[in-house]
Amino acid sequence: MPHAPDPALMLPASQLAWIPLLPLSAFVLLILAGRRLGALAGWLTVASLAGAGLLTARIAPAVFDGATLTLRWAWLLAGNAGWTFGLAVDGLSWVMLAVVTSIGTLIAVYSIGYMQGDARFSRYFAYFSLFCASMLGLVMADHFVLLFACWELVGLCSYLLISFWFEKPDAAAAGRKAFITTRIGDTGLLLGIFLLAASAGTLSFRDLAAVREALRPELLTLISSLVFLGAVGKSAQVPLHVWLPDAMEGPTPVSALIHAATMVAAGVYLLARTFPLFTPESLALVLAIGLATHLLAGTVALTMTDIKRVLAYSTISQLGLMMTALGLGAVSLAMFHLAMHACCKALLFLGAGSVIHGTHQQDLAKLGGLRRTMPVTWITFLIAALSLSGAPLLSGFWSKDAILLEARHVNPPVFWALTGGALLTSAYLLRLFLRCFHGSPSPDAQHAHRAPFIMALPLAVLAAGAAGVGLVGTPWAGHVFFRMLAVHELHEGIEWSMLALSGALVLGGAWLAWTVGVRRRNLLPRSVRPLGSRLYALAVNKYYVDEFFNGTIIAVTASGARWLAWFDQRVIDGAVNVAGLAGARLGFGHGWWDRRVIDALVNGLASVVRAAGIAGRRLQTGLIQQYLLVVVAAAVVLSLWLRP
């Protein structure tokens, strides 16, 4: 489609910078003068994100025509060589921009209601804006260095927002855990970047295809595995997934935006962006980790009783699904699922936020029967749960089934594993839904108050998205989504067998959720029940990953730290104290010398002068007759002496 785009619709490339700069300026304004803005602080964030969203919409036609909008500037020029870096928007970036700005705007609106009356209201929106600015910068970066800087910034915002209520020790600890755990992955990413810079000499994403030709496959495998390690940390893949469930200590809208829809998906985006670096070996690694994460997290989600933790494990599981798609080589499908999942999971979290806001309760055992008291939340939550479970014709169905279909063609064993994963997904989501909204109303549910309009509105908009946005990836809408990503081999028509399978999986999941999850029937034959309860204990304890880390890495680190503390106290401090003591003694000796010798000389001189004065003073009696006597005596002596 090489027709020239309408110049009026073209966004000058220099305006690209405004997409991240709008939220960034909102951040600066809020951090400096947020207190004075009051309730306006939230609307400022909403306005900046909506502005960024409008700019994103304006560049859509140009991007759709296959153009890559770029804005570069020189940085660290040394002679002819040097680094340039800047912003570039192609289809992949545009999809992320659209997800971040649209969902970010909705969640910011929701946050105004959710955070009402919080003591640090404006501070929350300042962090929120900074996060959005960094996330937009991350997806627009055309260079590893800028991407890494934004990558760290979103990690920082994640840390700040998880421990936003730092008065709670749990929240503070969760923030630290998230920061340190993702840092392990970031170290891998950084090493990968160093290795790439040293071996290929370029870090620009434009050159990745050329780099693939130039480098040896083993080196590529190493680099891409290290980059993948960064994604494992950020996207909470096994074994670095442990931070995400704890991150639920943060405010719920934050969980929705950062820990479900956008930041954790940055790892998937990173892999999609650097996909040319991946070799079959590293893709096999991605596939294995992704699949393991998908299934393990899915089983844990079945056993959790905290609403947000169920959703956190569900997020981990879905991210695992995206990684699996990447491992299969289906970048566009992973991105498709990313966008759909962002929509559904943001909605699920916002629904959970409404429940928590309305009942001040997030334990499934104390919830139930909310259907009557919170109808809007009930219907939107149902749509999101069904959509993400893959109920036919809803958004989540299209993205998940595209991945299943791809797996069936490429790797049948993976297909069967993913079928099991899909069953788990619908089982845990519908269990959560049923136990929250159906059954006998709990005491808390009877006193629940409905979500205010400002919180219900984003729910409704997102519900429309969770139901219908998936159509952009279907033949009915001409595969708009995939043409945006410049993918041209498309399945024409609908695969009816997959639709039937998906419907069956959702129904099966619903039946399991009802009989096992709600009515607590044990379906296992009597002979395997001990094994079943042992597996249940394994899952409910999250496969003892936290305990494993506590027992190994953390224990080793802690004992090392204790030893170092001992060394510090005894040896370093000892040396310092000895030096100090020596100094004190030396000072004491010097003081003695000063007092006894130097001062004695000075005082002695003064005493001599004083003694002379005392003696001399005797002469001056003030008695004139004495003076006269001296005069007369002198005259007599002189007259005798001078006698001729």
Binding site: R617, Q620, T621, G622, L623, I624, Q625, L628, L629, V632
Partner: protein, 101 residues
């Protein structure tokens, strides 16, 4: 018949010595003043004696000046003594140690 010069000089030396002795021994301020008069008069006697010896009248003029000066000095001295008696309450000079270091 005239008095021989040496006698006059002996007399004047005696007057001077008595004056100096008085200066050194008197404690009373008026006593001191009297002693000063004796010393002055000893010198007047010397002037007159040597003037007669050389037939010079300037010496007698000098003697008149010294007498007038002595009168002035007595006036000033007595005024100081009265002032001392009023302010310090004493005219014994060894009590007056205001300037002693």
């Amino acid at each position: 018949m005239s008095v021989p010069l040496p006698w006059i000089l002996y007399l004047s030396s005696a007057l001077f010595s008595i004056g100096v002795y008085g200066m050194l021994t008197r404690r009373h301020a008026i006593g001191l003043l009297l002693s000063v008069e004796l010393i002055l008069n000893a010198s007047v006697l010397n002037f007159v004696a040597f003037g007669r010896l050389y037939g010079n009248v300037h010496a007698q003029a000098f003697a008149l000046f010294i007498i007038a000066l002595a009168a002035c000095e007595a006036v000033v001295g007595l005024a100081i003594i009265i002032g001392l008696a009023r302010s310090a309450g004493t005219v014994f000079v060894d009590r007056l140690t205001l300037l002693k270091g």
